[in-house]
Symmetry: C2
Subunit: 361 residues, 2 copies
């Protein structure tokens, strides 16, 4: 764990004229402390005040897990018992707080209770503090993302042997889950969209049986040493269905155009437009129904958002997906996705698998 993160967060809390940052379970907590806390009905909350050292409130039941994460070495661990009121504990330690920020994923049941217990405080989004920290990756973080990308590339290398007519998406998904588990610390998601299911970008897996001639979108990701992987490739069983080869060629071009658009100083929306214009010019504009990409780090989806109209300026150290897709309902879909990092003078692509359509025998 990079202990400086908590110091930098505290400085950012002061700069934003806040009294404290309150961080519940989720990627912000993991980023700041290394503690991968479960989101429970029992409150876990890291408090980063300007005027005190940081402290981490955990249910006594979770004390062992919190200590095992090492979080107690960078924040005072305060355990609350089953019959304590954790909200009152927080409020008592923040008397007179006027401006607080809460992490984006804190559940409303806690947000509303904190608002009631601290009626004098204004509540702000924690991302005003954490977003600028999290969206620029350090060299260590980029190494971790590259290692995760390499791990998911190795899983994609195994995909062709798993795809065969007669198998269901669910069976293939189970095998992929196992292989991600072998190469990563955690499995984040597995999408196997065969035939028409490929036209639903967030289809996971289902009972559909693969057939010869199917196009199959495989989008998989896991977590390795606290950082996420995320990569999509397209496969066909035997001969591609009519039109699919041409569509895939357009997508390869769009992907390349977006990657080549990445460098410090361009806007996120420009990167989106680089992919989108290729797809639009080829006549598939209406079939590219999502943004071109999302940031990635301790979280699968985080800033920056590579979406039309986003004026966010790309800076060196930003890591994000480039994943244009084309979806033809009831027929098939395709998406090519790599993780890239903006460098001082351009871009580094972390995923190395060929982006061409893979024909499975």
């Amino acid at each position: 764990m990079d202990h400086d993160r908590l110091d930098r967060a505290r400085a950012a809390v002061a700069d934003a004229a806040l009294d404290a940052l309150l961080v519940g379970p989720g990627p912000d907590l993991r980023y700041l402390t290394g503690y991968h806390a479960p989101a429970l009905e029992r409150l876990t909350l890291l408090v980063v005040p300007v005027a005190q050292d940081p402290w981490l409130l955990v249910p006594a039941l979770e004390g062992a897990r919190a200590r095992a994460s090492g979080a107690d070495r960078i924040a005072e661990l305060i355990e609350w018992d089953e019959t304590d009121d954790p909200i009152a504990l927080v409020a008592d330690r923040l008397p007179g707080a006027g401006a607080l920020a809460v992490s984006d994923r804190l559940w409303s049941v806690f947000t509303l209770a904190l608002q009631s217990a601290l009626p004098g405080a204004r509540f702000h989004s924690g991302s005003i503090v954490l977003r600028p920290l999290r969206r620029i990756k350090s060299a260590d973080e980029i190494d971790a993302l590259a290692a995760a990308a390499d791990a998911i590339d190795r899983v994609h290398a195994d995909v062709p042997e798993l795809l065969s007519p007669g198998r269901t998406e669910t069976e293939i998904g189970r095998d992929l889950t196992e292989r991600i588990g072998e190469t990563h610390d955690e499995v984040n998601f597995v999408i196997v969209g065969s035939g028409p299911n490929g036209a639903s970008p967030h289809h996971e897996t289902g009972s559909r049986v693969l057939q010869a001639g199917d196009a199959v979108v495989v989008d998989i990701g896991g977590m390795l040493a606290g950082y996420c992987s995320d990569a999509t490739r397209n496969y066909v069983l035997g001969s591609p269905p009519p039109g699919y080869g041409a569509l895939h060629g357009v997508l390869e071009q769009a992907h390349r155009a977006a990657v080549e658009a990445v460098r410090p100083g361009v806007r996120a929306g420009d990167v989106d437009e680089a992919a989108r214009s290729v797809i639009r010019d080829a006549g598939y504009g209406a079939a590219f129904i999502h943004r071109t990409g999302h940031g990635i780090g301790v979280e699968e989806h985080e800033e920056p958002w590579i979406v039309a109209g986003n004026d966010q300026v790309i800076e060196a150290g930003m890591a994000f997906s480039i994943e244009p897709g084309i979806y033809l309902p009831e027929r098939y879909g395709a998406r090519i996705e790599d993780i890239v990092v903006a460098t001082d003078d351009g871009v580094r692509i972390l995923n190395q698998r060929p982006r061409t359509l893979t024909i499975c025998a």
Copy 2:
């Protein structure tokens, strides 16, 4: 899906003098609509207004999944595009709202944005509306919980053959995950606490290698047809460690006492005390570090909380765990857990596996 639930929720919204209930991804949404929406940075929100029919706002990208759940048959589906502002869409449709309730798990980033966009509204916890509905189970819900309990009992029946000296908790956990997957629709959690790891109630699995003479706490759960299972049993590899047999005997007594205390009209805190007093009298009071149980349904942990001091009165149809535990740090732990349902005149235990210590050869 029981379509009446949405009608009953709407009536409860009116009774509570609210203008609308706003429900994000999570168990409340699943309970009301059957839609198991992913919690994403893109807003999904069910709105149950008093003055309009219910509507479900989803990112366009999730439209197919939302429709596949059938949620569009009970609420108008409104899809927002990548460049729309979903918060503004909600605010525009709730002009002049004065009192709103939001589901407990809605992320703060959405809660705070809704508060900003609807400055005239007071925000309340959605549980004031949903808690009374969700905590009394219908006959169908009890059937579903019983089916889930039966499924997890079948996994516990397989545990002895998985435990053997030389295997790691992680390996055993992987096997259990697979068996839960075979008997349920989803795996919720797997705890294999061997030896001293058993003394940390929420330990999941780790690299520890099982040894002859280990006590092992196995606490597992999944979801079947939308309802959760959760059951804990204790196993030993060969001869129990010194003192473990006696400790387990106390726990069996405590478990029985709590189950026998369950009937309509008693308070949740009384059920807790029934287990706790047995453990306290045996000299292990300080080692029972958690509440006696939690409600269960579409969510693993929900109301009622079987915890000291809780004056909640038990009613027929409430379903919850009874799970006293005794934890001796650095030595071992034990917990016995079943799901029970309060009936008109007593209690029904849904799990059927023997509660005695299982000796694995």
